[in-house]
Amino acid sequence: MKVIKKEELSNLIKSNQTLMIGGFMSIGIPETIVNYLSEMPIQDLTIITNDTGVLKNPVDEQIGVGKLLLHKKVQKVIASHIGMNAETGRQMIAKEIEVELIPQGTLAERIHAGGAGLGGILTPTGLGTIVQEGKEVITVDGQEYLLEKPLQADVALIKAHKADTYGNLVYHQAARNFNPVMALAAKTVIVEVDELIELGELNPEEVITPFIVVDKILVKED
């Protein structure tokens, strides 16, 4: 049975692991999971995520990766944007955390490469910029590209709208974002859903993430 209670997360997520966390700003984040994680006795996580969210006041309302940062669970962030959460910048400048910035489309394709068994992809994005530093430049038919390596994680924490009991997933509006691509790129995939439904209730044509990549399902807590 894939359905779990949040207390079981402590058996699934450990210090020093690399986690992918779905979401774009405050949309499509597995909040119940991340909140529980921020209270767990773990540390030194590496987080791969689009952005570190939006800093809110009071900080108790912080959601997503921002909450993990506030609770000092993170040693490294790999993201495309950290500018909406000043705490990320503060910890980076104080050298409490390391930050690797990646163009958003490159982030998506690197995660796809990680999930699809590719050794990398060639992209024009970042050519001639500091993104190029330390990367191989490969010329294909006279055009230069950066070789970008695959990204994979120990655990992907994603958010979907509905799951059936096998773990087939559908998403809601712009809360889809990075969740489907991350669902293929981690050893263990844990999904938080608004609603768990019976097998057979989803149209097989509209399922976005097929059940075979989903390991655990947790129903969102309000």
Partner: protein, 222 residues
């Protein structure tokens, strides 16, 4: 509304909107570029893509708000009839793959080789490039919409960018409150001067070398 009553940003946005043709798919950056929507000719259909996964963005409905229906800046939006939701991988495949007709982004500096700097200032907090590097690398027409000079009155259209680049040689067009430049084959061409300005002012406020188009005409502004 005459141009006199418009703010500088509104003037720029209004001029940018004239670049769009019926059927175009465009991506509008956060901030001033978003204003452009307000000035699109109501007789044409222009489709707005937002890189967080919405194709067919419209104004937010006053009555039907969904927390998951936002643009890449996190602002609530609506969706046109026929609009669709996509994931980040597909969104950036559309962007990088040349399926977006035009992108409008702000700029800190642009140079005469079409290089763009708009994502970081050394010594200041680095927000991250988000989707900007992919947008300018892949979109058919890259329109930089910005004020002609910075707050200190210094030129932003330069012989060579001094800030870290967002991308090399990608800018198609620069639109400021004073002028319009086209950029092709490593050369800037002044194609329009605002009715509030004149060639001497453009020359004084532009560090880059540029050619004056034979068909230069004052822009009538409505």
């Amino acid at each position: 509304m005459s141009n006199q009553q418009l703010s500088t940003k509104e003037k720029i946005a209004k001029r940018v909107a004239k670049e769009f043709k019926d059927g175009d798919v465009v991506n509008l950056g956060i901030g001033m570029p978003t204003l452009v929507s307000n000035y699109i000719d109501p007789n044409i259909s222009v489709f707005v893509q937002s890189e967080n996964g919405v194709v067919g963005v419209s104004k937010a409905s006053a009555t039907e708000k969904s927390p998951n229906l936002v643009n890449a800046g996190g602002a609530p939006v609506g969706m046109i009839k026929g609009g669709v939701f996509i994931d980040s991988l597909t969104s950036f495949a559309l962007i990088r793959g040349g399926h977006i007709d035009a992108t409008v982004l702000g700029g800190l500096q642009v140079d005469q080789a079409g290089n763009l700097a708009n994502w970081m200032v050394p010594g200041k907090m680095v927000p991250g490039m988000g989707g900007a590097m992919d947008l300018v690398a892949g979109t058919k027409k890259v329109i930089i919409a910005m004020e002609h000079v910075n707050k200190k009155g210094e030129a932003k259209i330069l012989k060579e960018c001094t800030l870290p680049l967002t991308a090399q040689g990608v800018v198609s067009m620069i639109i400021t409150e004073l002028a319009v430049f086209e950029c092709a084959n490593g050369q800037l061409t002044l194609t329009e001067i605002s009715e509030d300005s004149h060639l001497e002012e453009i020359k004084a406020k532009t560090e880059a070398t540029f050619v004056v188009s034979e068909k230069l005409h004052k822009h009538k502004g409505e």
